[in-house]
Symmetry: C2
Subunit: 375 residues, 2 copies
């Protein structure tokens, strides 16, 4: 079994080409992780997910602890075996989902007590329990348990929350049992406030983690503010550890975050959008529900090598979406995940060749054109 | 382009091993056709359907004429291209679906006027229109337009309906344009009445078709009555043409019908059951919603070579079904279609080897055992 290891291969401006080795294999950065919330990347087989170019996926402590249960997954041989995904898995700590999904939350210094959104059962999630659940799942990368204040919180509330999350990060570190190839990432918080973000960076780096995530963004602050936070946060993070921007985002968000030194991303957008008839393309987003696709024999993108674009026309995709056929959800998710991975591969190639700025400009112009008809 | 051709390879009792050549390739009989109602075998890619061993699929005139429209599919290059299924396709004539799905039906000698169950639009379906729609779709095997009386109809009503269907069969024959590799099948009717079934056989054979279907069964009469109808109907059908039992059925129905000389089958059961958490196995049906699967790491059937059984345990399938994850629908449909194709392959092998009776006995005993735990 390999050690967990991050290699920074080359930089281009602040963007970084790298490679991460884990207990279940390596992945190249900048990387996008498809989201497998409930031990499945919705609508997709693991083989299809891997076929899009994804080397790694994310799954969720909150969802899996409630159903089917972390102890059960451990007894069944761990998450990799359970869901038939042999590659690296990162698990979210559950902090964000407790805040956004659970009922009757009660927060104190020890952790969060809440009721399941599925069956109303009561649970107590603490840094120690979250880390232990992630160990039972077999996560290659475990995330520290944190609290995510709402975007509307005032600075005093954000400061209070951030310092609680930092104490929880330290408890997560203590609770995490070192195993070769398995890593623990700390999560930076601090809202949009530079002093709080930097205080959080200092606390985390003094504790010491295998990687650093930027959390609490993409919650309504807008792209400009998010990029601004990244500007002063990533520059303070250690060079020799991977950096992960949680829950982001649209293709343009990812592009901008890579330019600001981020290495890892996850987002439900490509899969969730696929299930609502939306496709991501080089020319922006396309709504397959739109009647203009009814008689269009062309693929979504004639240059896209994904199975959806190779085998089906827009008229067929439109038909499937309108007829509420499950294959439509699968084919659009497939294309979207493929598009995201192609974007990441293009970004990595451009960093390697030192041409990321040109790549980013061309990307921005094509996206802004928004003209799917011209594809 | 090949001619449409049926070769009777060998018989075993009344069971027949054969091969049918069509414009889009050949298929071996006895054959089971997965149902692709709305130009998709629900939850499955065409590649996955072919991977189960299916050589041919069925699609529906009624559904496709309403959405996306037959003229549209013709403009888009035909159904094979539209849905990316390069193999043979048989299309139902719409008669059965009009009776079971459409609203405000009005039947007269010309055909049926009805309202779409989707948008209430009015349509007039006649033998000529049905055959023309199937030509536009590009069906390798076109079915004559018929009327299906309800199981509750008295003999006079069945006689009236059967004779109308026979007049429509003749009009379908006249309307069908001969093209190499494309075939027209007549549909035998007559309910459970021997004299009406034989009258229908005589009418159809005197018109002359490329194959003969037995329609109007599996509508509530029960397996024993159905087998009885087959006993006196198939013996009257020509030896040198394929015989198709429409809409059938459970594995045991298929087994019994093969023993009575049927060559082709279609049924929504394996795919529809998959979408409700039901799996077909050598030991009978299994309900994956049942809590006893929660902690069971074993595959559905350790001897089944399908991707579902090779890659996933019952506990995972149970989890997907309970969590209403789309992948669960896909994996169970996949297994069920695979099981049906394995059954057909086993039947064909047993006919070739002259051991079908032994095969059928072992099949019946295993199914009756119903003990999935013993798998």
């Amino acid at each position: 079994m390999t050690s967990f290891r991050y290699e920074l291969v080359v930089t281009c401006g602040r963007a970084r080409l790298g490679r991460v080795e884990t207990a279940h294999g390596a992945f190249d950065t900048p990387a996008f992780m498809p989201v497998g919330t409930a031990a499945t990347v919705k609508t997709m087989t693991p083989e299809a997910v891997a076929g899009t170019g994804a080397q790694m996926i994310l799954s969720n402590t909150y969802h899996l602890m409630l159903r089917p249960g972390a102890e059960r997954i451990e007894r069944l041989g761990g998450l990799h075996h359970f869901m038939n995904w042999p590659g690296p898995i990162l698990t979210d700590s559950g902090g964000f989902q407790v805040m956004s999904l659970a009922k009757l939350r009660k927060l104190d210094e020890t952790g969060v007590t809440f009721q399941s959104h599925i069956d109303g059962s009561r649970h107590h999630l603490t840094p120690e329990r979250s880390v232990d659940i992630q160990r039972m799942l077999g996560a290659d990368i475990t995330m520290t348990f944190d609290e995510c204040p709402p975007f509307s919180a005032d600075k005093a509330a954000v400061a209070h929350s951030t310092r609680l999350s930092m104490r929880w990060a330290e408890r997560s570190r203590t609770a995490f049992s070192e195993r070769p190839g398995y890593a623990l990432f700390g999560i930076n918080q601090g809202g949009v406030h530079q002093d709080l973000r930097l205080e959080s960076v200092n606390t985390l780096t003094s504790i010491g983690f295998d990687g650093y995530a930027v959390g609490g963004l993409a919650v309504g602050e807008g792209q400009e503010v998010m990029f601004n936070v990244l500007d002063f946060t990533t520059t303070a993070l250690p060079e020799d550890k991977p950096r992960y921007l949680m829950g982001v985002g649209k293709p343009a968000d990812i592009m901008g975050a890579v330019l600001r030194g981020i290495d890892m991303f996850d987002c439900v957008l490509p899969s969730r959008s696929g299930r609502t008839g939306q496709a991501f393309t080089r020319r922006g987003q396309v709504n397959l529900r739109n009647a203009r696709h009814k008689d269009d024999p062309r693929p979504l993108d004639g240059d896209c090598p994904c199975p959806t674009c190779r085998n089906y026309g827009r008229a067929y995709l439109h038909h499937l979406v309108i007829a509420k056929e499950i294959l439509g959800l699968t084919l659009l998710t497939w294309h979207n995940l493929h598009y995201y991975q192609e974007l990441m591969a293009g970004i990595r190639k451009a960093i390697a060749e030192g041409t990321l700025e040109t790549f980013a400009q061309a990307f921005g112009q094509q996206q802004a054109a928004g003209d799917i008809e011209a594809l």
